[in-house]
């Protein structure tokens, strides 16, 4: 709460600097085969109302029964957030009427959530790492979906999502910029995908965020916050925060006050608008659900889950830095997705780690991004890229030729070493062949020779010429050595 941000994160208003304070409530759909309190399927995209049990439709006399797998997933997530696991938690009813809420209440955890305080370390693009506090994580039911465009006067309801398990993860108001907020959500997503507890698919709504935004003059107490509902992409989160902070600053600087309210982000206009004020807020009449016993976990069961956790991004990153000598930033990029980290680990096996990291991050990621592909749909396998790097390391090909080879592998496929041989791409290290080129150049360009002798950097002209005449296949190292000896520099 008293985290002071760097002045570089301040927003400048007419009256000086402002600090934006952000807290997030993230709704993550639990990866599970069946719903939180019923046996109905959680599969996405079924025909409307095809994944609905009697419990989900709130038929008279139906009772919820907790799905143990969903609880385990919440505990795993809690452990991944370095959070306290509450061995006793309670399910409450949050009462309100809505057509896509069949029971007339959502079963949620209000006062006693399954997971308590934790912390997530978030890496920022400038290399800074910030620790963001986790307030809590609780389990709750998702609602169904109201469809308003099927009939001129009526709305239709699809209950397929009704009762699907969600984890609500609440951060402390520790975020200080839209960049931090985006990085925080990306990190949460990464952790949950590593754990297999949420697929993190924002397009399908598996991951949604409500963002609480307030502004203050640096060093002053927290300002009044507004909650922006259901922002469903990283880009929109950034836009929504930027817009909301600016809106609040403008109001205050114009002598107004911020009214606590819930706002909606409009992605087409890039702005937020009022949804309901605090006075209009529902009275949810929370009380413990009498149909469910308190959720009791044993310390042994939690330990057993902990023992089986996979290596998480932070640990993997530390290992990459330690074992592969990578920079923190490069390692962070490689571990963001488990698939990418696995890819890299295959590429790097027995090869130069930094070279491998550069190729994965710069060439592979760049190409994937450009073509809208992911590591899973990459046309180039880790084995192929690894083979290419081996050819660079053993000086069979130069870095420049390697880029040509990358292109061939990407578009045509094949085995790197075989390709280099069949297409004559191996670099020329034969000193005799290079030597005659060098001798010719020295004889024809006495002025350049003089320059190079006066300033060794001018030798680069010769290097370029040799490479050009050899079709790029001359070994740069061999060319350098030869030039140095022949020019006597």
């Amino acid at each position: 709460m008293n985290v002071q941000s760097k002045p570089s994160k301040f927003i400048t208003g007419a009256t000086g600097d402002w600090e934006v304070v952000i807290g997030m409530e993230v709704h993550a759909q639990v990866s599970s085969k069946s719903k939180l309190f019923s046996g109905a399927s959680t599969a996405f995209g079924g025909a409307p109302n095809s994944h609905v049990s009697l419990v989900d439709a709130a038929m008279p006399g139906m009772l919820p029964v907790i799905n143990a797998e969903c609880v385990n997933q919440a505990v795993r997530t809690g452990l991944g957030l370095n959070a306290r696991i509450n061995l006793r938690s309670v399910f409450d009813r949050k009462n309100y009427f809505y057509p896509d809420l069949p029971q007339g209440y959502q079963i949620s955890q209000y006062k006693q959530p399954v997971v308590g305080e934790g912390v997530v370390v978030v890496d920022l693009p400038d290399g800074e790492a910030v620790s963001i506090g986790i307030e809590r994580l609780h389990l709750e039911q998702d609602a169904g979906k109201s469809v308003h465009d099927k009939h001129p006067q009526m709305s239709a309801v699809d209950l397929n999502r009704s009762g699907v398990a969600l984890m609500e993860i609440v951060s402390k108001p520790d975020l200080r910029s839209s960049e931090e907020a985006k990085a925080f959500l990306a990190k949460l997503r990464s952790i949950m995908r590593y754990l297999g507890t949420c697929d993190g698919n924002m397009e399908e709504g598996s991951l949604r965020a409500d963002v609480n935004v307030s502004v203050r003059k640096p060093g002053e107490p927290l300002g009044t916050r507004c909650e922006i509902k259901n922002v469903n992409s990283l880009r929109f989160i950034g836009q929504a925060i930027e817009h909301e902070a600016r809106r609040q600053i403008d109001i205050i600087e114009d002598g107004g006050v911020i009214v606590q309210e819930t706002r909606l982000f409009d992605p087409t206009k890039g702005e937020t608008r009022s949804m309901r004020s605090k006075e209009e807020a529902h009275d949810y009449r929370y009380f413990p659900d009498p149909d469910l016993l308190p959720l009791e976990l044993t310390a042994e069961a939690v330990e057993a889950l902990k023992a089986k956790l996979p290596e998480l991004p932070d640990e993997k990153k530390a290992r990459f830095v330690r074992d592969f000598g990578l920079s923190s930033y490069d390692a962070g990029q490689l571990v963001a997705e488990r698939e990418t980290a696995d890819y890299y680990e295959t590429v790097v096996k027995g090869r130069d780690a930094k070279l491998a990291a550069n190729w994965v991050i710069n060439e592979l990621f760049g190409r994937l991004n450009k073509e809208g592909k992911t590591i899973a749909t990459s046309p180039m396998s880790a084995q192929q890229l690894g083979g290419l790097i081996a050819l660079i390391s053993d000086k069979t090909i130069s870095g420049k030729i390697a880029k040509d080879l990358f292109e061939i592998l990407w578009t045509e496929g094949g085995e790197p070493r075989a390709l280099v041989e069949s297409r004559g791409m191996a670099q020329v290290t034969d000193l005799g062949a290079i030597g005659s080129i060098v001798d010719d150049l020295i004889a024809q360009n006495p002025d350049k020779v003089a320059q190079a002798k006066a300033n060794p950097k001018a030798m680069m002209w010769f290097v370029g010429q040799v490479m050009k005449s050899s079709g790029g296949k001359a070994s740069p190292q061999a060319v350098n050595d030869l030039l140095k000896s022949k020019l006597g520099v």
Binding site: M59, P60, Y286
Partner: protein, 491 residues
């Protein structure tokens, strides 16, 4: 054929097994009796064809020597239990003609054991009432009348239809539910036996919920033995109800007639109310004497928080009800009254679909759970509940095996006589029974005598958690002395 309807469940079972009578004969006799007793309004739906089909199947199983524990026994089912393919309304207009696609766990276990469905019985709307007068299908008339009077009396509630059907010999037993006394009070009013088992003994799955932490199913029957037989089939673990106990069900019938010698029976002094009718005092004393004569030891005990039970109950039960009844919103099933928009539709549907008592309790429940009132009402009531439970635990810890109290503070009363001006007058009916629900304990009401006008009066025995067996032993000891009470047909 009338003699078949005067059989007890146990006798009928034995005669069916010895093929002395057939299930079809037995079902027909009861189907006829039900049809002739429509003046009672005990049934809201009769299922004669289903009864005969089921009875035929029972006869076939009996012939093959595959009879279940309740084979061929005609039963009535309270309209709160979902019955697959058979209209289930909780006697509320809001459920309209709702026909469930599922069978409640309790009733499915009765069918598993061979019982035959006669129909669905009347009850107070959503089980909210103590006289069966709040039913959307109208009041039930008790088979009992005061001597020399034609004044229609209430059978008690909320399981009024079930109690009246058993007392009028329209069925050999009926299912019922008890949230604050809804099995025991009507049993006491109609001279029948009703047991509310320990909370968690019977599954609540498929029973229309009133107050989830208090609701419990149980039987209403002619005798203690019949109740023991029926409860054994109704009870048992159910993975579909988290609050249902994973405890094996004993052979309750074996406890009937068992010696009560040496049992310590607590007599709670707080149940002696000011202004309690002399006749209630009298049967209570009588009950004490009977148990003492049977070898039980009587001890005075104190349950100091008893006086807070009723007020606390009328916070907890409406609170849970207000939430449980939110699903009746006109969106998916039951009544829908069109409105300008969704909120208007909700308001019109619920205003028209719920009766006055249900609306009152939904409003009370909504109020006590509201922000700013929760701590003062709901949370406090839950604390009181803990204290009530502790009162009982302390007595049981001192070696008390069960308690004996009156079941009700009065005999049955006339239809329209109570609660018209002040609902609390009606609520006071449950003063002896709500404590048992609040503490989650088993309680049985057994007929013990009549008042000066010839109306039945009952005694209540309260047991330790999951010790229904002791209640059957003690109940049968009282029954042996008190005898049976049969209403003279006027219908």
């Amino acid at each position: 054929m009338t003699e078949l309807t005067s059989l007890t469940l146990a006798d009928a079972r034995d005669r069916l097994r010895s093929k002395d009578i057939s299930a079809v004969e037995l079902a027909s006799a009861h189907v006829d009796a039900v049809a002739k007793a429509r003046a009672l309004n005990a049934f809201v739906l009769e299922t004669p064809e289903q009864a005969l089909t089921m009875a035929k199947a029972s006869d076939a199983r009996i012939a093959k020597g595959e009879a279940g524990p309740l084979e061929g026994i005609p039963l009535a089912i309270k309209d709160l239990f979902a019955t697959e393919g058979v209209r289930t309304t909780a006697c509320s207009k809001i459920l309209g003609d709702f026909v469930p696609a599922y069978e409640s766990t309790v009733s499915s276990q009765l069918w598993r054991d061979g019982a035959v469905l006669l129909g669905k019985t009347n009850n107070d709307e959503f089980a909210m009432g103590s006289s069966n007068e709040t039913s959307h299908f109208g009041a039930v008339q008790s088979p009992w009348r005061r001597e020399g009077s034609n004044t229609p009396l209430v059978p008690g509630g909320s399981s009024g239809g079930s109690a009246a059907a058993v007392a009028a010999q329209l069925c050999l037993g009926a299912t019922a539910t008890d949230t604050g006394g809804s099995i025991r009070q009507p049993a006491a009013f109609t001279g029948t036996v009703g047991i509310k088992p320990t909370y968690g003994r019977c599954s609540r799955w498929g029973i229309v919920a009133f107050a989830s932490s208090l609701d419990q199913a149980g039987p209403i029957t002619k005798t203690v033995r019949d109740a023991a037989i029926m409860l054994r089939s109704m009870a048992g673990p159910d993975a579909k109800d988290t609050t249902c106990a994973d405890i094996a069900v004993p052979d309750y019938e074996a406890s009937v007639g068992k010696s009560v010698k040496g049992l310590r029976i607590g007599i709670p002094k707080e149940y002696r109310l000011d202004g309690m009718p002399f006749e209630i005092e009298k049967i209570w004393t009588q009950g004490c004497d009977w148990l003492k004569a049977a070898g039980a030891e009587l001890v005075d005990v104190s349950l100091p928080h008893t006086k807070y039970a009723l007020p606390a109950y009328y916070i907890v039960a409406p609170a849970e009800a207000s939430s449980n009844l939110a699903r009746y919103d006109g969106v998916r099933y039951g009544l829908r009254v069109p409105g300008r928009d969704i909120t208007d539709m909700y308001e019109k549907t619920r205003a028209e679909g719920f009766g006055a008592e249900v609306r009152r309790r939904v409003m009370i429940g909504t109020y006590v759970l509201s922000a700013g009132y929760y701590d003062a009402y709901y949370l406090r009531a839950q604390k009181v509940r803990t204290l009530i439970k502790r009162d009982f635990e302390q007595c049981f810890a001192q070696g008390v095996h069960a308690m004996l109290t009156p079941a009700t503070p009065s005999a049955s009363f006339g239809i329209g006589e109570k609660g018209g001006a002040d609902p609390v007058e009606m609520y006071l009916n449950d003063v002896f029974t709500v404590t048992v629900n609040m503490a989650g304990l088993p309680g049985i009401a057994v007929p013990a005598g009549t008042d000066a006008q010839g109306l039945p009066l009952g005694l209540q025995l309260i047991g330790r958690p999951f010790d229904e067996e002791t209640l059957f032993a003690l109940g049968s000891a009282i029954e042996r002395e008190a005898g049976h009470f049969v209403a003279k047909p006027w219908w």
